[in-house]
Amino acid sequence: MNGVSRRRFLKITTAGAGAAALAGVARSVPGALGNVADPGGVRSVPTFCDICFWKCGAIASVRDGLLWKIEGNPEDPLSRGRLCPRGTGGVGAFFDSDRLRTPLLRRSRRGEEEWVEVTWDEALGHVAEKMLRIRAEHGPEAVALFSHGLGGAFLKHTLKAFGSPNIAAPSFAQCRGPRDVGFGLTFGEDVGSPERTDIRNARCLVLIGSHLGENMHNTQVQEFAEAVGSGASIIVVDPRFSIAASKAKHYLPIAPGTDLALLLAWMNVLVREGLYDKEYVATHGFGFEAFAAEIAALTPEWAYPETGIEPQRIRETAREMARYRPATLVHPGRHATWYGDDAQRSRAIALLNALLGSWGRKGGFYAPASMDVPAYPYPPYPESVKGKVDNPGHKYPFATEPLTNGIREATLSGTPYPIKGWLVYASNLIQALPNAEETIRAIQSLDLLVVVDVVGSEIAGWADVVLPEATYLERYDDLNVELFREPFVALRQPVVPAPADQKPNWWIARQLALKLGLGAYYPWRDIEEYLDHRLKGAGHSLDQLKRTGIWRGPKQPVYFDEGVPATFATASGKIEFYSLQLKQAGFDPVPKYQRPPVGPPGSFRLLFGRAPVHTFSRTQTNPLLADLMSENEVWLNARVAARYGVRTGDRVRLKNQDGVVSNPVKLRSTEAIRPDCVYLVHGFGHTAKGLRRALGKGASDAQLITRYAVDPLMGGTGMNVNFVTLELEA
């Protein structure tokens, strides 16, 4: 980062540059002004983005019949007319030369990525035959679905109709699950997605490991910049000096894994100094006295040796939060599966917000609303006799969604009952779940693995059947009936036709259902009929929505003082400072800090995060986005690097505590990270042959995450518990 020059940037990005323009409009049009001429003839299509799962409203432009660009839809409350860099680069998904083009059947051993191209009829016939055989032998529950994002809606419908309740997404147990559970236990509601955070009105914003600006959830980043611009006091807690940290008034370079100690000490200061919102706590709180007693000894002096944050700075920042309450927002974060104590840490974040009185208040957490769009009237799904497989005996009593890792475990062990088929929709399980070796072993015990994806990801490489999906630019999906600050409904619709034999999920799911004899669950013939039926039920129509892309509902009250009822769906009906249900289940009723285990001597804790131009491991072959960032770097503290004699640009391999060694990756020697950890942007180091543009570029954090700490409350997999050493490449 230090002094990246223009030439340097070009040097990095011109590797392998051909003369071909990125988009299909490769014609040179030397107009009088030297620009691409604007011949008119531009067709605009409103839709919404799918490069991440924020679902920003967008308007795509087609010029002379060729896809040109995509911009934010000004009518959309999420994008407010501006997409993020990934969304702007979304047209690259259409032009990606690594796209899957036709259905594929495996023709050698699993994972060797040798295929036979087949027709859709053959591919789906094969899948249906296998599914029916599994159902006959093991029951319908033996087929599970991993699905992330709105696109999987119809495949979920087909699987439920088939009779399986086993549908999970990594977005719970590998991401936001602990946060939603921690907030649910405290306020009776989770923060949702998009988060109900009123960042734009916050006067003090606290980010704990949340790196907005690099993590590019559009509305959050727009509001973050708005808060920075209006002079909000920003407090950032992170072992790495993130972009957000560079905007902060207070940057707290915390020791990794000790956030809960800091949170408890902050609460100790607020209570001891009487700075919390006493009226709010008295009106809405339950168990405050018992809570206060639990944290009475957890002073900043106690937290100092744990966190490395000086007592004076802990007090100063606690007072800063109190000064601006209730417009102080302690952001709940999003990717929260870090150390295995994550639901309790998230609960501590919720409690800190409760002390500040920010839930239900302007500049804190608003109450979102959505429009009433009736579901399509399907026949009822068959009841599952066996129930869900992922969490037997409610081992994780506070899990609110199915666990991907629970399904994997059941697949491996055959208990509580066997899982013999996996359908995987748009989630690269090899990179998303910790310990890929376990995932691969589970796959080897399956009778059927079907992957629906846009590119040949690592998980597609292990599949028996690969089904190529049309990109969001080429398909309809279900409606986005958004739960947000203001209610709206958004439509995704095709902008251009799919370039080869790719199909939309609704078509794939429907054809599969027909082959499974589940035609009764698809009474509609095509998706337009389905969408129009739903919209008519809400007093709108598909024709109208095709023109505007967004249908906005009336604004609703969003704060308690605007008339939102201050009710809490907890056991006590109040904000639970002290949780009896946690106590009854054998857990700490008030979060307790435990020192995180340290790594082997001389090793660095492996941390990972996001870059603004990529989503997970999905976008590295998008030519526009790869042109901005084609590989990741491993960040190492500059003084440590000097001690080891390594420099920025050196190629190193990372070796973890279990002997797993990464691809070579460029070193970034930087002051912007603590000396006890290293950092990688997630999503690189691809190994799938199908991802030609990204193959072998950078290192995969996922490959090095062989260990994980399971959250005892909800089964999430804490992944920041791996340690690496660095080996210089010759």
């Binding site: 230090n2 990246v4 223009r6 940037f9 070009l10 990005t13 590797a15 392998g16 540059a17 051909g18 003369a19 071909a20 323009a21 990125l22 107009g31 009088a32 002004l33 030297g34 620009n35 691409v36 001429a37 604007d38 040109w68 660009k69 911009e71 934010g72 501006r82 997409l83 993020c84 860099p85 702007t88 047209v91 907005l212 600006g213 690099e214 590019m216 980043v221 727009q222 973050f224 910049a225 708005e226 920075v228 611009g229 000096f241 972009i243 957000a244 940290a245 560079s246 370079p253 603004p612 131009v613 030519p623 526009l624 042109d627 901005l628 500059a638 930087t670 002051e671 912007a672 603590r674």
Partner: protein
């Protein structure tokens, strides 16, 4: 007669490179090349650090060395807003302008001519902001007539501390960075 310029707020810029990719799609910039780019400069020692982020591009200088050095007149100051442009069909690809530009803002397009930022004059002439300004999710970029004291850009320059890049080069750049 307008004098177009840009004002970029480094305080709110998050360095996400949306400006870069918006330019690439709007102007069909070929793979491996960029008309705009983002630099980051980190100073200090951990954990007391400062980071300055710049979204950079052609500065459309009042005193443009790329224009005075051009042997064919392809590099020219456009009548509308004083924007510095290259007439592709007149450019012989000699690279004199690449050498003359202290900002490293130009490159030779695979089709053989010098290429760079145009301030999206094709959009500006339709009353739109340049693509990079219009897309910015941090709303940190502003475009307008620097000679109009009522314009947003002029007011920002008048009211906020700012700097330009390489003032000593004598080019009188027209992109201002708010601090």
């Amino acid at each position: 007669m307008a004098r177009y310029g840009m004002v970029i707020d480094t305080r709110t810029c998050v360095g996400c490179m949306d400006c870069v990719v918006a330019c690439k799609t709007e102007n069909q910039v070929p793979e491996g090349f960029d008309r705009d780019w983002v630099t980051q400069r980190l100073t200090g020692r951990f954990p007391t650090l400062q980071l300055e982020i710049h979204s950079e591009r052609c500065n459309h200088c009042d005193n443009p060395p790329c224009v005075t050095c051009c042997p064919t007149g392809a590099s020219h100051v456009h009548q509308n807003g004083g924007v510095v442009l290259v007439a592709h069909e007149e450019c012989i690809g000699c690279k004199a302008c690449l050498a003359a530009c202290p900002y490293d803002a130009r490159f030779i397009h695979p089709n053989g001519y010098a290429d760079k930022c145009t301030f999206c004059i094709h959009r500006v002439e339709k009353g739109q902001d340049p693509a990079c300004v219009a897309v910015c999710p941090a709303h940190c970029m502003h475009f307008g007539d620097l000679d109009d004291p009522g314009a947003g850009v002029s007011q920002l320059i008048a009211s906020r501390k700012h700097h330009v890049l390489l003032p000593a080069a004598g080019t009188r750049p027209r992109i201002y960075y708010l601090e």
